[in-house]
Point group: C2
Chain length 291, copies 2
Amino acid sequence: MLDKPVIIVNGESQDQIPVTDRGFHYGDGVFETILVKCGQPFLLQHHLERLCHGCSRLKINISLTDITRDIEQALTSIVDHIAFDHILKIIVTRGSGTRGYLPATDHIATRVIILSASTEPAPQHQQGVRVKLCETKLSRNPLTAGLKHLNRLEQVIARSEWTEPAIAEGLMCDEYDNVIEGTMSNVFLVKDDTIITPRLDYSGVKGVMRSVLLNTALPALGISTKESTITLDALLSADEVFLSNSVFGIWPVIALEHKQIWQQGVVTQRVQAEIAKLMKVHRDGNHRDDK
Amino acid sequence: MLDKPVIIVNGESQDQIPVTDRGFHYGDGVFETILVKCGQPFLLQHHLERLCHGCSRLKINISLTDITRDIEQALTSIVDHIAFDHILKIIVTRGSGTRGYLPATDHIATRVIILSASTEPAPQHQQGVRVKLCETKLSRNPLTAGLKHLNRLEQVIARSEWTEPAIAEGLMCDEYDNVIEGTMSNVFLVKDDTIITPRLDYSGVKGVMRSVLLNTALPALGISTKESTITLDALLSADEVFLSNSVFGIWPVIALEHKQIWQQGVVTQRVQAEIAKLMKVHRDGNHRDDK
């Protein structure tokens, strides 16, 4: 197991960035957090696609070749540790700039790769978690909605609302009290055999696991899906509720703070099994050489 | 004149920060940008008060003694250049952290000081500027409104809406088309001898120059002030409009893009004279030894 993170900045093994970086000054960039199983990043292509989409939306010039090479370089550090899970974080910013908000069109992006040993939550979360309803609201902005950008102060403030280990995640609403997402996950409701997840046109991050569920996994199960506005009442009256995240997969939600409201239902279990299957394909694919 | 910026990180002369800094990952911090005249920061106490207020709101532990010592250290580099104006930027973040949004209560803040030669816009802006009405909207969040925090992607996107040098600033509205501020300034309207500026309870930065105007300079001139919701119609029907910023002072606004709408009126001129007086007191105070 890695005893300290492997850090690569612009292709070089180093753990510092210039203080002039626009990621540091303005949060002018995007990031990805990826589960590494059997030494290989799970759902890598999906993460790289979202990274490119985010950079394109923010008009940050990136070279996917450079990023892929950085990732390969980092992964060589764990060839002797592939029995362990790791977390790969990629940060891309608009690079260093002169003073002022105006972005230079000829900027050179900063690429940071941080590969760490995984310290993910206990496996019992797969059986069901308690969540908190955060008082911190998500602001609305269609220009940045959906993106996994570096302006994360709302998540930091929301996450600081609780420290009880029994609460696994906090749900966040917008100012109209529509449920949007968790601080680090997307939220799904099961209601009358349809799976509903919040529209993220004005707030929220379009998670990679969320996209996999909507585009591939749920259609494969023959479950109909809907993106819509979700009120607190709709949340409370859902048959089942679960959270998705590309690192932890699927967590059934069973309680809102100290009140048990939902069951870990059969639909959620089918979804968990489908994601476990995806993970098995990934694992088997990367163990091919061992067979 | 300084040929390159003086940079101090946590009291040490260096120009890098650890990639693990939460300022870089989440924009988890605040900043100040201060005009340095005659070798001394203008309105320093006001800036430090706002910095402390921001850190207190975000629960970032800071030592004002350390920050003041860092500033003094940086200023020693320009003792031979005090005829020139400089810009002092202070960034304070929650420091380095482990993975995840949850802030550690025992964190050690990162302090960054960047002191650069001033490259501020031409003095003709004091006679009146053209502004653009940005399409990028400011999102609403009462928890972060007013603070000069490091989540500045909206300003970056707004500022990238124009590159014409003839446009000095962009005005930003919230999603209800209420005028909130400029990308780097606060906005004031003169209407029937009252000065009105937007309420910043849900969006916007409470600028130091804005506070000086509301609390000291405008009362000293006997001008009544009001913070209120400002519609685009109210903006267009104002007698005079001006922008404030603690580095450039006061800019009268005369045109919206290519259309001249307002005059550089007498009220704005009185406000400019009052701020020039404040600046003269600062200058004379810091030239005391020369007399």
